[in-house]
Structures are given as structure tokens and as C-alpha cells.
């Protein structure tokens, strides 16, 4: 389990369409600014969120996102949970390889998003959906 205490209520957003992916970016940006992440860190987190929200939509068949401000006693951060009840990822190592894709994209979504955040957790398996949790801490 990742360290850190939730501050306040998570903000939720459904991911059911293209426009929802845009809304996820805007929500994450707002929370990242409030958590005082630097401009570069905001940009990295919003970019990672955009990739993961698109994955939730395209591969998971839609789902939800929850954005929470967290505090580990020393630093503030933003944690985002993406959840879908789609087919899940059978071979996670392969899915995390740069350039691997089953959807005709560039294959950078999952692997690239992992590089852009400080903490990355994924819970998935064939038939059990996918839950991805990412955290970015203010420096």
C-alpha cells in the first residue's frame, strides 16, 4: 500500500467518451495546481492521466477516475485511481513494454505514464478489470 493520508474527498469523473478524457485532464490539472505541484510536474501528471484515461476508455470499455490530494507528512501530492471492469490485462510485463500495443496506438500509454509519475500501481488480470493508481508528489 502506498503511504500517504487522503485529504478531503476524492473527486470523481466518469470516463465514457472522448470528451470525458478531456474532462479528466482538466480535473487533474485543477487538483495539481491546488496541491502546488510545479509546472513541469503538473504537465507530467496531466499527460500521464490523459494516457491512462484513454486506456480506460479504449481498452477497459469505459470506467471511472478518482482524484485525491494526499499528504505523507512531508509532502503534498496528487493520487489518481483509474478503474474499469473491462477484460483486464493478461500479460502485464508485455503491456508495460515500450512500443507494445494491441490497439493500434504507439504503445507508449502505460509505459510512458509510469515514467511520468512517482508511484505507479496496477491491479489487473484476465477477466477482472484494471485498476491503475498513480501518485505525483510536490517537490
Amino acid at each position: 500500500m502506498t503511504a500517504g493520508v487522503d485529504l478531503g474527498h476524492p473527486q470523481a469523473q466518469a470516463i465514457q467518451s472522448d470528451e470525458d478524457v478531456v474532462r479528466v485532464r482538466q480535473l487533474v490539472r485543477t487538483v495539481a495546481v491546488a496541491a502546488k505541484l510545479s509546472l513541469v510536474d503538473q504537465t507530467k501528471l496531466v499527460t500521464a492521466a490523459s494516457e491512462l484515461a484513454r486506456n480506460t476508455l479504449v481498452y477497459g470499455g469505459g470506467g471511472t477516475v478518482e482524484v485525491t490530494t494526499v499528504d505523507n507528512g512531508r509532502r503534498r501530492g496528487v493520487r489518481i485511481l483509474f478503474a474499469d471492469s473491462g477484460p483486464g490485462i493478461v500479460d502485464l510485463d508485455l503491456a508495460l513494454t515500450d512500443g507494445y500495443t494491441t490497439g493500434g496506438g504507439l504503445g507508449l500509454g502505460l509505459s510512458g505514464a509510469r515514467r511520468l509519475v512517482d508511484e505507479f500501481e496496477i491491479d489487473t488480470g484476465a477477466g477482472k478489470g484494471t485498476r491503475v493508481t498513480v501518485t505525483k508528489w510536490a517537490r
Binding site: V22, V40, T43, K44, S50, G105, G112, L116
Partner: protein, 139 residues
């Protein structure tokens, strides 16, 4: 769905992306641009991304695709105005923007296109000269 406007300035098409584009809007822009290049016979496309907070793998791929399509249609594409935080994030994401020319601003982008065109004309001239030389050399 929002649509990104395409402006014609002399021999160049200028696209200034001012909205957070959904994936559909990005794909529409790709099609609209291809049509406008052919309809106007433009030889240069400038895509101004000054207003973009992020460029994720989808938009990155769109930029590469636009550059490739323009090339086939005899037009140069230059992407201008990328923010520093966006550049840092793109590199970390693993996106190399293959085949895309970039410039700091619209003015430099126009210079780059003008230079690329005049280089081509010079090459054509040299070919013509070579052809002329051959003609004169043969009795």
C-alpha cells in the same frame, strides 16, 4: 465536437490550436488539413501549439501523421511554440516526434518553410543546369 480552424496566409496554412482537443477533434483536424492543402495548393503548414498545456501520445502521433501527409502532398510542416514543460514531458514519455520540424515561434516557422522551399528550387535549378549542359555538350 469542436473544430480547429485552419487559416491561409499567402502560401502557408496556419493552424493555431486553442482548445484542449478531444481525440475526435484531433483526427478531424488531420483530415481537414489534408483537404485544405490540396484545395489551396499550399506548400507549408504551421501548427502553433503555444496554447497546449500538454501533448500526449495521441496528439504527438497526430502531429507526426500530419507531417507525413503534408510531405506526400508537397507541403512542409513546422510545429511551433512548444512550451518547455511540454518538451520535457514529451521526451520522458518516450515520444520522439519523428519527421517533425520545429521552430520556436510562427515567424521562425515561416522562415524555415521559405528556406526549405528555396533549397528545393535551387536543387531543381541545378538539375536543369545539368540537363542544359548535357544538351549543349552533345553535338
Amino acid at each position: 465536437m469542436e473544430r480547429v480552424p485552419i487559416l491561409k496566409i499567402g502560401d502557408i496554412l496556419l493552424v493555431s490550436i486553442q482548445v484542449d482537443m478531444s481525440d475526435q477533434t484531433a483526427l478531424q483536424l488531420q483530415e481537414d488539413l489534408a483537404e485544405r492543402i490540396v484545395a489551396t495548393g499550399s506548400h507549408g503548414v504551421i501548427i502553433d501549439i503555444t496554447a497546449l498545456d500538454i501533448v500526449d501520445s495521441f496528439v504527438g502521433r497526430m502531429l507526426s501523421t500530419i507531417a507525413s501527409i503534408s510531405k506526400v502532398l508537397d507541403a512542409e510542416t513546422v510545429v511551433v511554440g512548444m512550451r518547455p514543460a511540454v518538451a520535457i514531458t514529451l521526451v520522458e514519455l518516450g515520444l520522439s516526434l519523428n519527421g517533425i520540424r520545429t521552430a520556436l515561434n510562427v515567424e521562425r516557422g515561416m522562415e524555415l518553410i521559405a528556406a526549405a522551399r528555396s533549397d528545393e528550387f535551387e536543387e531543381d535549378d541545378q538539375l536543369d543546369d545539368a540537363a542544359d549542359a548535357e544538351t549543349t555538350a552533345s553535338p
